[in-house]
Amino acid sequence: FIDQVIGRSVFGPSDFIDNDESIEPLIEGYFCPERDCVFLHMRSWMDTYSLAEKCRQADEYLQHKGILAFWSSRRYEHARAALALFHLSHIMVCCSPGHTFDISYVHLFKSLDNLRNKIQPAVADVLKTVPGIPKDWINHGRPCSPRVLFLFLSCPTALRGTRGSRDERRDAKPHKHPPIKRLEYSLEDQIYRILRKARIITNVAANSLFAVPSNQEFVYVETGSQGTGMDTQATLINNCFSLMGAQDISDVTSDPGPFYTQFLTEENREKRCFGHFLREHINIGFERGFSDNISKHVGHSGGNQWEVPTLGVWVEIADKLFDLFTEELTSEEGQKHSEAMMTLRDDMETEIMFSELRCKKILPTAISAYTDGLPPHYTAEYHNAKLLGAMSMYSMQARGPASEKFAEVLAAECTNYWQSGRQMCEEISLTGNHCTARRHTLPGQDNMLEVGNTKKILPTMQHSSGVQYIAACNCGRRQANREDPFKLVDANYNFYQQLEEECCKDLEHVSFPEYSPAKVNLVPTEKIVVEVVEKKEEEEKEDVEVSVNETVVPEVQVEEPSDSDEKKEEKDPSPERVETPAEDEAEIILEVLENLHIEGSAGKSPSKVASLLARTSSQVEFLTHMKTLSSPPGLKPEFPSWSLVMIGSSHLYSHSSGLGAQPGFMSSSKFLLPWEVPLTKLSTAELNEKWPNILENAAKRASLRAPDEPVDNRITVKVFIGYEYECPRGHRFMVSAPDKPMKSSSTMREAANKLVVCDLPLYMACPCRITKPPVAQLTRLHVVTPKAPLWVTINPQIQPSPGGPIFVTGWDVPHKLSINSYWVLRLPYVYCGEGGAHLPPVIPPTAENPAGCLLKGSVCFDEDFSEG
């Protein structure tokens, strides 16, 4: 672009065309053929107007990187252009809009000065290639030590117009200079002292970046010849005026260029004007050159070169030097000067440098904040919490535009640290415990994991939370340790089947509806069926569960949906949920957390069409979860989660001694509750004929009655019922009231009457420990049926969470228990519906915070008795 500008500046006199397209600093030139004078006008982002334009153009960039980053690089470009001017000009004019010297120039000058010395050899090399350049010029790299003049474009209102030319204060002492002169002198003194202090100007002009004349004014403050001058000027400057202009003089000249006349035409004829001020300096330049040495060096012309080139030579030099200063810093040959330019960039990009260094410095600390005290492997939830901690620690200490970049580095490193062998299996057991193994696959699954481009082999093993429970078998007569189940079939079926081998397999079993065809070739399409059904139901019943993304991931083996219930928020394994704690954190963190969706999204793929097609064939399929009231009618589960066995005849139970030697029972609570059921349909005669034992019992009871007791003529029979709870540690107990573990049996004559007509809590604090009691779960229903013309029917319905789905056995009608027998109904160990397992509550439920229940009406009686 410089070529173009130079070319145009030499041959085309009218070049004050706004060129706002260019993002880079622009040096406009104007050659005055009549006056043989080249004026260079540097426009860069430092101009207010250009700045506004640039910001508009770089809107996008600002949005992302912020102003500091934008600024720093612009500042570097600006400095490079300024450097070129310092090498090409005899006189430079430093313009300020106000009337104070901006000390940020000190930094710019200082950097340029440092650089000028470093870059000298490279400049000399370039100059050598131009024929006809004096040796001195080559050695110094510039035609002279330029003079810098300071132009201030406004003055205090009190000094504006003609007011500055005389002191109007009555009480002021007369001074030999008018106020405006005193302002100029004062500014000169300030500037001089500051530049001296910073060692930018020295005694020997040739050694400095530039000089200021020692015996001539170098500060001009614009007053505006008239009051209005200031206003118009302000408008003009707002439109286009550079902070820094520069002139180079080629030969003889007299007038200031049109650049200034634009706004000085009015003033030109006045005595006080910048044109005159500048012309004086230009004239000296043409007469004898500057000699701005001071103190003992005054008059020493040695080392003070002064060259006035021809235009052609100057243009050639300018061309080459611009190339040098603006070339990319990657070229091999320019290594040395590249290095120098790098330092300039570092000087100019202080904010970026600071930010980078600061963030780099804090990064290891933040990483160790993450790695400190980490377990060998851990879950995504734990990882996120740790990462969040490290992030907030980092954000307190990191600063500036680089902080985002390094925040990403931090997150990436921590995530990588976690993913390289520290990931824990995210599976949650059906009782709510994490699988404690490191990330692994199940037997039969593809154990290759793609992390980026590398493939890793995951260990293959079964899930294990390391937790062991104690539980009794279907009939309750045998206890064994059980592993924390991850599969529903293990939880509700396999464990009990294994124990049956040792205990209850010979008892009479009542079967539950189950899907009977051979369980082979479960192809993914069948899975989708389930998904559809679930989805449909979720639309209807929004309060239910988390969608089961996992079910559609094509797998060879069937895996039960194992997402935990949404309501148990403490332990929620689904990937989407993991993000919740981070929601209000900074965007960066969120962005990073997105990387954590390692395999999450795959599950959402089935198209609507595919699912609709699948729905038509759904009648013939089976349920992968347990049967609930909302399950599609006709679908049966693969295996029963319930068990109903008859232990034997009713004589097995003796109300005086309780359940006898069943393991795990607390001694005071192993009694069933008597439930007096009246017989109303049959006459005494009929009873006498068919059921003499009932009348005998009634007579026996009447004789035992105390004399003052009211006479009860009704004939009743006794059913014995026990609601058995079992805690994870294998403790078992009966309840005497809906919320009360049984303490002793003797006084519980009427208790069962109340129990059968109300909801029973599914979970209850186990009395085995007083502080922090474990949560016991209603596990078995003991029913001893009398020898009487009466059906005791059972139809258990369980709602494991308030408002949740209701689990049922799948029987079409309540099951009639055969008379004169001891029945044990074992309830499911885990309730797993469409959305996943309902986890038992972590703490025992209270009245305010209820958990699930066994709905009332699970046990009834039916007098409509017919034998056989």
Binding site: T48, A52, W71, T100, D102, V106, P156, L187, Q190, D347
Partner: protein
């Protein structure tokens, strides 16, 4: 509202002496002064407003306009006189503080990037001139520290300008925002420190004839909206535009007397009223988590100042300066 004000007045009149003139809060040697403490009460309903800007922008004039209860009142913060202007000297050194009867705490800063301040420093040969390698670096860091301080202890800061904009100044504000350290809380266990940033209002002072034209204002607002996009300062109004206030040239009113001067479109007094309304109606976000009394604020300011002076950020930054 007036009732509340009256009650407040009576409380403060009784309890504490009244401050007539602004006093030093941070002196020119960059040392914190707690002389303001005796004028402070246990009142928790107060606003802290700070101004900063380049030399001669009119910082003290603007803050006077905010501090005075009526325009006729005498100046509270010293403003440049003819002599200052003639000799291009600055007027305020360090940071001045004043608290008025309505419990506005006002802070006035020395000019930023000021040649005059630097010159004075050089001439007085202050010990700290080489605190950060060189005088100019020390000047820069001190300016950054002062802005950082205002950003930490004020509810609202005003950037006063008398020119469209100055890149170096904006760069400095952004750098100061970047460098501002987090003030530690008294109670070390409180780990939930969040970084605080005040309202940021740009006061375009000495606006000329055409400067109040809607187009021009829009231009200014557009620029700041872009420049401040990433800033965490509270610079936005409800409509996402930056908080820009235009104050016309004070002298404009006398334009008729002065030959050939154009009278600005806006009236100075009216604009000041608008500015006061804008600034006082900004919703105050709490400086600390616990509720602060005026006295508590002074101690917060003291801690903040110490923290800023000892912060490694500024040292690291200064090492990178040329």
């Amino acid at each position: 509202v007036s009732k509340v004000v009256n009650r407040r007045d009576s409380v403060s009149d009784k309890a504490v002496p009244k401050l007539r003139q602004a006093i030093k809060f941070v002196d020119e040697n960059h040392v914190f002064c707690d002389g303001i403490n005796e004028f402070m009460t246990d009142n928790t309903d107060f606003i802290v407003i700070g101004v900063f800007g380049l030399q001669n922008a009119g910082k003290s004039t603007i803050i006077n306009a905010l501090a005075k209860l009526c325009p006729e009142e005498e100046d509270i913060f010293r403003v440049q006189g003819f002599e200052h202007q003639m000799l291009a000297e600055h007027c305020t050194n360090g940071i001045d503080i004043y608290v008025n009867a309505r419990r506005f705490i006002l802070l006035d800063c020395q000019p930023l990037l000021s040649a005059s301040v630097m010159d004075r420093t050089i001439q007085l040969e202050k010990k700290y001139t080489s605190e950060f390698n060189s005088t100019e670096n020390t000047m820069e860091v001190h300016s950054l520290q002062q802005i950082g301080f205002l950003f930490s202890v004020c509810h609202t800061v005003l950037l006063v300008q008398d020119w469209f904009t100055d890149v170096n100044l904006i760069r400095m504000v952004m750098a100061a925002e970047m460098l501002k350290p987090v003030t530690p809380t008294v109670n070390a266990e409180d780990k939930t420190v969040t970084e605080y940033f005040p309202h940021f209002v740009i006061v375009q002072n000495k606006a000329e004839f055409t400067d109040t034209e809607p187009e021009y204002v829009e231009e200014i607002e557009g620029l700041y909206a872009r420049v401040l996009k990433k800033s965490r300062l509270q610079w936005r109004k409800e409509d996402e535009r930056p908080l820009v206030v235009m104050i016309p040239d004070q002298e404009g009113e006398r334009a008729d007397e002065l030959k050939n001067r154009m009278k600005p479109n806006e009236n100075f007094e009216e604009s000041v009223k608008t500015m006061r309304k804008t600034i006082f109606s900004l919703k105050r976000s709490p400086l600390t988590q616990a509720k602060l009394t005026e006295k508590g604020w002074v101690s917060l300011a003291n801690r903040t100042w110490d923290n800023i002076k000892n912060s490694a950020f500024y040292m690291e930054y200064s090492r990178l300066l040329p």
